[in-house]
Subunit: 341 residues, 3 copies
């Protein structure tokens, strides 16, 4: 949506250095920006791209404004400011209210008049869809679900059953919420399935990435609090509780009944075993897993970055001889060095 | 389904201590149970919740019965007993036979009259669907598939082609079975796809979790035997063979042509490389992978739990100096300690 | 498709030892082959299966021909030769042009007359579908997508929006391409979503496995070059660039903005952190992740194969005492061995 720099600066309370009447209609990175583009400089490693940018204006810190060859919008957090302004310049698509002829709504379900149901959407018994909700093609909402106002389901999302979602959530294709947790009791005749009877409760402003799964609880609910962000291909097991504003990068797995605090960050492929409690403000490095309760905020890690394969192979051999090495040191301590023999 | 404690005890051959005419109509954890709920005590860590429970009855070991403030159902394996009784008290939903108007059945396919096909189900040529099968919304059954009696496909499951499934299977949303295995031959012109012509054969009583994939075999079948349980987001590659009653937790990957024995347990994010054989009764710890044949039942592990990041960083540096340390010890053994100089 | 050995040998320029008029109509492994089957011997470990094969003919190296009890088709790379011949003997299914009555095409979309759109396919605004494309049941093509000639989408594939695909691509069920990347700016009020406005550009001859996700770029495109092969359950984050003919095995994760070279091989569960550059011809071992730029072709590794759990537990204890061990060696070097005391 074309908007003038003056309007943008006013709307977000930023100082503008430059012509307030210049209009921007797109956003772009510094090197690719044209005279109609809004750009930003948030990370010093891109500072060298600033002098040659052809953007209409650049969002940056006041301390960088001197080097801007174009209009500057000053903000102490240029990335967050860009995120907000970009949403104004390039708003997400809007959808007229309506239900596609191929969509199927169970008799006992209730769908707000302002909702948009695309092709082949299916809504189960007793489920409710709030105002301005967008349900993309192929989305299946099982029975007993509640979807709050302004949620968006891009396409082919599945809520199995008994999922309650707050407002303004965003759910990407392939997401599965509310499928049975992995509960099995071993018997002499093999596994007996433990019925999974809980639901899933998701707060406001939650975004869940493509092909991520969030299982229903065994008896009580699986809970995802407000503002949580989950990337693609993550696994949230039954009865997990994730605190507000925590973010999980791709391929993170949180095992059953574990409780994660608020504002935690899990990097790619990290995770936590089941039945532990993790306090607020914990950062977990890539490919690291938490194996016990974490009671102190901070950063946790335990991964080995790649090495040249032959070096690694030698290193692995050294690692395996660690017991022998310890014995050799013990012997030396007892005076057993060869020179003492 | 409401049922009296007496009937439950009789049906499962348990001793009941308490009024057999009390009726239960739900199941709940000890602290959340009300006077209409059946509960259970299987794990000692929840024993402290027993004295204050308000359940109608608690399934527990005889040795715990003294501390129960309510009726007791005695069983030496309370969790398995609970699993079975919960299925009676809270049975899975049942579906009337019928084919939704939007479901599409290929002319040469055969669907049992007692099956329920929900909205937008698609059945391919020559496929057969057994008695009492439930196929949820959006499920796609490709050509040449056979689905045994009493199977349930929750929603949006895909069988690509040539998948044969036994009875009483349960398949969660997003599951993909029978897609091509990853077979490519390198040539000077790039990769040439190796046609994947085998199928998938799945036994009775198999459950597969949301967004898990099971590839078809290259020439012969990929095989999953009776009673196997697979959690979400697992990957079973082409020509893998998984023995009866083995269980794989979430995000496990089994690479091509590997053969896993019976009653194995793979914890979350564990796995096995391709072309190996793993004997019966093997347990693999979380995030551990088997790299060669396993011929001895037992537990296998190789993962590093998270450490405080600065400690880990120091530890990583120490690990990298292991070669130097070994040299230093060697020198000491040769009498090269500084004090000897 | 039945074809004579003579025709096959001629078509692929191979030498045939045996009767050119024998017809093959299937392919099979050496032990399972019958008199109508074409088989192959590419790996020495299967050489012992050669003398007893009942195949019509075996593709093998000239040096192995003496031991073949049946007709031999000679090729220096039997596996690649088999891949090509198998495609002739067992061609992929072909589909008559046409649009199923339940498929939905947006008014501004263009679909080639020779394309086949199966049940419940949805094509969004301004999208274009090329000649001979097959879109399987439940496939959703969002707005502004372009699908090149001869592509195949097996079933339930989702292109979110703005995805451009070259010719002859193959996309398995559950694949999601073009969903939003994971871009969030932290603010005192929680996460602010950073609009993801780029698209995805995929070259010719690309194959992507079941339930893999490829995110759209934040501003510029995510790019996958010609001939890339990606297995199941992989994650390609926003603005990643994957060079031609690179192959990623199952469960590989490539984090945002990382650039992977040509002809790289990533084994199962391996990956790369974000914002790094990996040169051509790099091989990454299973479960290994690249943490920084790689400028030298070669093989990289950093994983610990499974050990018997009690051994591993001791080994982990030794590893944790590495700091102490180093101190002890330091003390010995200073003459601090007990025998010196």
């Amino acid at each position: 949506m074309p908007i003038s720099l003056g309007e943008l600066a006013t709307q977000f309370g930023c100082e503008l250095i430059g012509d307030p009447d210049v209009v921007v209609s797109s956003v772009a990175s510094l090197p690719n920006a044209g005279p109609e583009s809004l750009s930003f400089l948030a990370n010093d490693i891109y500072k060298k791209q600033l002098p040659s940018t052809k953007a209409a204006a650049v969002i940056l810190r006041a301390s960088d404004a001197d080097e801007s060859p174009v209009a500057s919008i000053l903000h102490e957090d240029p990335y967050a400011c860009y995120a907000r302004m970009a949403t104004v310049v390039c708003p997400p698509p809007s959808y007229a209210p309506g239900v596609h002829a191929s969509a199927l709504i169970a008799p006992s379900a209730k769908v707000a008049d302002s909702a948009h149901l695309a092709a082949n959407v299916v809504i189960g018994e007793r489920s409710r869809v709030g105002e301005n909700v967008y349900l993309g093609p192929g989305t299946v909402i099982g029975p007993d679900c509640t979807i709050g106002d302004d949620c968006r389901f891009i396409a082919n999302v599945t809520l199995a059953r008994s999922v309650e979602i707050g407002e303004r959530g965003m759910f990407h294709p392939g997401v599965v919420i509310g499928a049975d947790g992995f509960g099995n009791a071993m018997t002499p005749d093999g596994w007996v399935k433990v019925p999974q009877l809980g639901g899933v409760r998701i707060g406001n402003d939650v975004e869940i990435g493509a092909n991520t799964t969030v299982d229903c609880g065994a008896l009580d609910n699986t809970v995802i609090e407000d503002g949580v962000r989950i990337d693609n291909l993550c696994m949230i097991a039954h009865n997990v509780h994730i605190g507000a504003h925590t973010a999980l990068a791709a391929m993170v797995g949180i095992a059953g009944s574990t409780r994660i605090g608020k504002r935690c960050l899990f990097a790619g492929k990290s995770g936590a075993v089941g039945h532990i409690t993790v306090c607020d403000d914990v950062i977990v490095a890539a490919r690291t897993f938490l194996s016990k309760d974490v009671t102190t905020p901070g950063t946790y890690a335990a991964s080995f970055p790649a090495d040249e394969a032959r070096s690694w192979s030698k290193q692995l051999a050294r690692f395996r001889r660690l017991g022998t090495l310890i014995e050799r040191v013990k012997k030396l301590e007892k005076g057993g060095s060869r020179s003492s023999d």
